[in-house]
């Protein structure tokens, strides 16, 4: 009994020793100070920042496990009730860094319709993904929550060359679909962000129009190369469809870089208000921009830089927006590593669109609200794209 008690005490002592409080406190202080020195709002979005520190720091000193300590970090960030304040645990980093070189995609996309993942692009469009892999426990329950789509999206990725078997259903029958995972055309490595696959899809559409889908705003040289080719292809086209659905954002400066291909005069897509300075998302127009009809497709997963671009071009009267209201996660941010090995993302500016609209928490509203339906998808239709093409073919020229 004594031996057992001693062992338990020893283990408890080791567990406590494993949590180096000094490192966690230093990390907490770094996070707290960095946010205080960079947050644009002197009132810290209504949060008593000193009181938050006074409350959480002593609790950190008595935290027994890493989990408890990280929960306090996350608590501090959550109190601001703003997007782009997130903790990225070291473990998640390690997993993402390890997987990244093997980042392969099955070449399909899906959206959650009534909580069910329904294929919106790729083979068997409109079918519901019921299971990923042969394991019966991999059945997908109805998904809800802020990051449900992102989490499921990640499960569809893996090592290029490997195969992924999905169990699909269309309401009448089920089928197994085996897909080979293809490498992403580019993998972005930027700062402390985990590696991010970047895909740009470019193709002609009836209309005639040019379609360009951007999966994320990274890899500037690749993006510009594809933009140049798309605008060249669009010279004799009636319209251009820019698909930002599911695009989580990226480098904010790439919003004006893309807008530059659609404007012939200098303009601003909106303003960043930082603590001591306000910056414009200034557009430097390209020599030979596309000045025909521009349709932008957006949805609830279009975030950040996607929102700056869509809102900016909407406010400038240059684009017509089709789809769903965007995520409303529209704050420019940075990511820093902490001495604990974790990282934290923190917003550094408040963004307002060219018309003065605040997108954070509100999102960008489309001109034409149209969302995927299972029935339309099963018929091979993309309702937002159809609406955009119909508008492009109309004689009316106003966005």
């Amino acid at each position: 009994m004594l031996a057992r008690t001693l062992l338990v005490c020893l283990l408890a002592a080791l567990a406590a020793a494993a949590l180096d409080h000094a490192v966690y406190v230093t990390s907490f202080d770094q996070m707290w100070s960095r946010i205080r020195e960079t947050h644009w709002d002197p009132a810290m979005n209504g949060v008593d920042w000193d009181a938050a520190r006074a409350e959480l720091r002593p609790r950190l000193l008595s935290a027994k496990t890493r989990k408890e300590a990280l929960a306090l970090f996350a608590d501090l960030l959550a109190r601001l009730r703003q997007s782009h304040f997130e903790l990225i645990p070291a473990e998640a980093y390690a997993a993402l860094q390890q997987d990244a070189p093997d980042e392969g995609s099955p070449g399909l996309d899906f959206r959650l319709l009534d909580g069910q993942p329904v294929i919106t692009r790729g083979p068997r469009q409109g079918w519901t993904i019921r299971r990923i892999g042969p394991d019966p426990s991999s059945e997908i329950a109805a998904k809800t929550g802020k990051y449900a789509w992102h989490a499921l999206h990640r499960r569809l990725r893996g090592k290029p060359g490997d195969t992924l078997t999905l169990e699909l259903a269309n309401g009448r029958q089920t089928a197994l679909q085996t897909l080979a995972l293809q490498p992403a055309p580019r993998t972005a490595r930027f700062g402390h962000l985990p590696p991010i696959p970047v895909e740009i899809e470019r193709r002609p559409l009836p209309g005639p129009a040019v379609y360009l889908r951007l999966s994320a705003f990274f890899e500037p040289a690749y993006l510009q190369e594809e933009m140049r080719a798309a605008v060249r292809d669009a010279r004799s086209a009636a319209g251009f469809v820019l698909d930002l659905r599911g695009n989580p954002g990226g480098l904010a400066i790439l919003a004006p870089a893309v807008a530059a291909w659609f404007l012939d005069k200098p303009a601003s897509l909106g303003a960043y208000r930082m603590k001591n300075v306000t910056l414009q998302l200034a557009v430097n127009p390209r020599l030979e921009p596309f000045l025909g009809k521009l349709a932008i497709l957006i949805d609830r997963y279009s975030m950040s830089t996607s929102e700056f671009l869509a809102a900016g071009l909407k406010d400038l009267g240059r684009a017509r927006l089709f789809g769903e209201t965007t995520a409303g996660a529209a704050l420019p941010s940075a990511i820093e590593k902490l001495p604990t090995g974790d990282a934290f993302q923190f917003a550094t500016a408040h963004y307002t669109s060219a018309s003065g609209a605040v997108l954070e928490g509100a999102g960008v509203t489309p001109h034409v609200a149209v969302a995927h339906t299972r029935t339309a998808l099963l018929q091979g239709r993309d309702l937002a794209l159809e609406a955009a093409l119909n508008w492009i073919q109309e004689k009316e020229n106003k966005p």
């Binding site: 700062g191 990274f218 480098l251 910056l279 590593k337």
Partner: protein, 247 residues
């Protein structure tokens, strides 16, 4: 009584200001301690390569610059991980930039004036041509070392600059200015250190830490060459810039 106190305070302030050296003495001394007039005049070209770090953000890159005088020309190539190449240059009259992020553009207004000024060979020697007014304002400590704080008024644009020169060594330690960018005006503070011989009797700082908004950027020079052979073609703008110049 209050009036008497005020008089005493003003008298003390005047006395303190009178103790400060004139700005021209401080600026000329900097030329002397970094090589002297003759050494600056003999400098016709310069090459530099180094590394850049966005402190805390995990973003690193490289920078290479070429400068030449008569006329003043510059070429700066920066390569930042995840952002790509930022290429910029000036011909003495025009300044340009080309990057994957912002595309090709000719600089205008204050941005162009600042770019042309910073590309000037032997700028310390030419301070009388660059600034219309220079005043020593105060003595302040920078990193624990007493420095003279100067206020400088550029001739070609209205944004005043500040510069701190170390009292003992005469070396520039810090500067502060407002940088004009297409996105707006950004306050920029620069700390310089690690002065080393670069050849021809000249000295230059090999370490520079800049603070712009929430970001700190550290540049470390790995190599600086005095009067190297620089092919004239280095200063030719790329094709996309030439199209803009021809427009």
């Amino acid at each position: 009584m209050t009036r008497t106190m005020l008089g005493l305070i003003l008298a003390a302030a005047t006395a303190a200001a009178a103790d400060l050296p004139k700005a021209e003495t401080v600026l000329d001394r900097f030329v002397e301690v970094t090589g002297g007039k003759a050494a600056y005049e003999a400098a016709k070209t310069q090459y530099m390569r180094g590394s850049i770090e966005f402190v805390g953000a995990g973003i690193t890159g490289t920078v290479t610059t070429w400068l030449a005088s008569s006329p003043n020309r510059s070429r700066i190539e920066m390569e930042l991980a995840g952002m790509g190449k930022i290429d910029s240059g000036s011909s003495g009259e025009t300044a340009w930039q080309n990057s994957a992020m912002q595309g090709p553009r000719l600089l205008t207004g204050n941005e162009a004036k600042q770019a042309l000024r910073s590309a000037r060979m032997n700028a310390p020697l030419a301070w009388r041509e660059i600034y219309s007014a220079a005043v020593t304002e105060a003595e302040e400590e920078i990193d624990g070392k007493p420095c003279y704080r100067l206020a400088l008024e550029p001739k070609d644009e209205g944004k005043a600059e500040k510069a701190w020169y170390e009292k003992e060594s005469g070396l520039l330690r810090k500067s502060a200015m407002t940088v004009s960018t297409p996105m707006g005006d950004v306050p920029l503070e620069t700390m310089v250190s690690d002065y080393r011989e670069i050849g021809g009797g000249l000295k230059a700082p090999f370490s520079m830490t800049q603070k712009a908004g929430p970001q700190t950027i550290k540049t470390t020079i790995a190599e600086m060459k005095h009067n190297p052979e620089v092919p004239a073609a280095i200063f030719d703008p790329p094709a996309e810039i030439q199209k803009l110049l021809a427009k």
